[in-house]
Amino acid sequence: SAVISQKPSRDICQRGTSLTIQCQVDSQVTMMFWYRQQPGQSLTLIATANQGSEATYESGFVIDKFPISRPNLTFSTLTVSNMSPEDSSIYLCSVNGGQLSTDTQYFGPGTRLTVL
């Protein structure tokens, strides 16, 4: 399995500002994923981040709102831009546990974001 850390663990932000969330993995992984978990809800995939290429966004999520960086095989960032209270959620980073894309996914501890 992979050990994943996220920073910050939580933050309270003002409307209209941006927050960048960092995800660090203890091993090199091809694909990293960013999920959003709204209060009391299940997980929704925001985007898939492959190193060396543009992130692939799911329907309903756009790069201008959620820009992603993937500078190397162990690190990624997700920025939540121009925040509104509707962006209050837990944001989770996830990676595959092995070389194959169909391997199990492992999750970071999440970043709890509150937008006032």
Binding site: S94, S101, T102, Q105, P109, R112
Partner: protein, 116 residues
């Protein structure tokens, strides 16, 4: 598109007893993976158990076992000898074996309470 349904928003079990969490899914694919994840109040998503669709034998991990009924598209989780530490949100998830990307779908979750 694949969908995952967890029809039990909440379940409770007495400590040391057995509880079964239900999950059904809808897919036209023949090869896929199914997972149960646990999310305690600390919010770290933890893999509980996984099942490959091509395997007829039900997966087992210590006190956790599944009842995988491929024809019925059912994937229930049985927790035996429940412990207080089992209290958490449990998410059922589906992942295609054909998609080279992510394509992991989560159910809405079941909140399990363990009574002492």
């Amino acid at each position: 598109a694949q969908t995952v349904t967890q029809s039990q928003p909440e379940m409770s079990v007495q400590e040391a007893e057995t509880v079964t969490l239900s999950c059904t899914y809808d897919t036209s694919e023949s090869d896929y993976y199914l997972f149960w994840y646990k999310q305690p109040p600390s919010r770290q998503m933890i893999l509980v158990i996984r099942q490959e669709a091509y395997k007829q034998q039900n997966a087992t991990e210590n006190r956790f076992s599944v009842n995988f009924q491929k024809a019925a598209k059912s994937f229930s989780l049985k927790i035996s000898d429940s412990q207080l530490g089992d209290a958490a949100m449990y998410f059922c998830a589906y992942r295609s074996a054909y998609n080279n990307n992510n394509d992991m779908r989560f159910g809405a979750g079941t909140r399990l309470t363990v009574k002492p």
